[in-house]
Subunit: 157 residues, 4 copies
């Protein structure tokens, strides 16, 4: 199976800068998939490096456009958690593909990150679910439109 990965930024890719601030760094997903010894063909597209709270409809149109344009049937979108549910809903009109949106509450570069687990969750969803748009977070797979982020607890419900 081939998986096309589109990265958009978010906490998943956050790094700590020399200036003592967090910034969205180079995407980590390729190294995480390699460490997991994933036996899929992976293609990668780094679309943007944004905090998802700053994404607007133009950004979401671009993400939708890129998901539609790829000839891959299985698309993984990595995304900040703040507006992940909005983007997932924005992708719902796409047909003929399995699309899974995931991210992380703790950056992959931190020792206690949820990132590798979430990627495993997403990769399983890509191969077990019918065409549609899904969110993979908090150990759960949600169809787009059926998840919301509980900001106080830092989980998707």
């Amino acid at each position: 199976m081939r998986i096309h990965v589109i990265t958009t930024g978010g906490s998943l890719d956050v790094e700590y800068t020399l200036q003592g601030t967090f910034a969205i760094g180079p995407p980590v997903v390729a190294s995480l998939l390699e460490r997991a010894r994933t036996q899929h063909e992976i293609t990668l597209e780094s679309l943007c490096r944004k905090d998802s709270a700053t994404l607007d409809d133009t950004d979401r149109d671009l993400i939708r456009h890129r998901v539609q344009e790829t000839d891959a049937e299985h698309v993984l979108v990595t995304h900040g958690t703040d507006t992940m549910t909005n983007t997932a809903e924005h992708l719902r009109t796409i047909t003929g593909k399995v699309i899974v949106v995931t991210g992380a509450m703790q950056p992959a570069r931190m020792t206690d990150s949820d990132a590798p687990f979430n990627l495993g969750l997403a990769v399983a969803a890509l191969q077990t679910l019918p065409h549609g748009v899904y969110i993979a977070m908090s150990g759960r797979i949600f169809p787009a439109g059926h998840a919301r982020k509980d900001r106080a607890r830092g989980v998707f419900v």
Copy 2:
């Protein structure tokens, strides 16, 4: 959803001893699921701590017995990779449950482990697949009887 986790040992739980040897330590799965912020009810059963190369039919009968006995519909079995496929086949006669067997090529206590990814893969399979027995390794979900370990490459195919 409730997930009952049965741990049997394997590389996943390996630790490095004061004597400079490896041993199968206390199960890591609870801490990995917590770090992943998993929103499922988890029950844990530490059945044994064995290198799976040493498991015999008595051990496999015990694992099958425990999987059957639990009232949970969703069962995750953590297991060494050497005979994971044998145990999965041994569980195939169990009906009415989703059973996913996973493990790791690198111990969870090592920095480059595939363990958290594999657990994510398994947790997604538990909630997306019909009743049956599956192996979650190498980024893939295999029905029992359809996977083998490629020992030279360290992947399941």
Copy 3:
């Protein structure tokens, strides 16, 4: 040997919050010293949790007061890197003690942190150097007044 550790915050103790921002979390030094199997008597005092760019003379007076007051001869101060050199100079009038100031460019909670190495550097300096005030960073031990932070490169020279 007894080491009294005074923590003041800085990148060393940074954590990533549920709101996707960084904050100075609970001090990490005790767990790092335990992991290193350090055979010293350690006493800990969490004085403040501040970004060192925000420390003023009142804060530095308080740090100096606490270093002076402890009956320990060997004092380790963990501190943000931005004004670590200023605080070290502020402590120079203290006599009869070995005082080492250290911190980290990358938070200890990140996988590629310099924190454990820097703590090792500081703990060795505490036991090998005469009374005085020192900075332990970038693999080097500097007497107070002889180090500056090269902000562009993220190292002390």
Copy 4:
């Protein structure tokens, strides 16, 4: 300051193999020193990859020969913990150099390793101590001949 590093193996460099055993892998010291942003000139010499319990006098003669031959005044030897004290004593006849022997109880490739701390300890000792041979372990600096490994507790005393 230039530091010449001679690596001999030991738990520090242990990796977990595809066969589920531990082996002594490529030396980790260069990447640990880089992560620590060490501002010294480092030269590296990978002499052997041995469990120190298997080192004999021929091996120790070779280590002594290499330490003597290098034109560096500051030499760091990474070594297994079982016979680290023997090797340090074997080096005592060397004059005109600061020689520090260190290693780790937990491999650097494990998440809870003492390796980066121990390297920091050793690097500080190299620059603060007079010519001689030292062991840097358990948060302490011991002159050669004054340390022994407490095998039951996994610490040097």
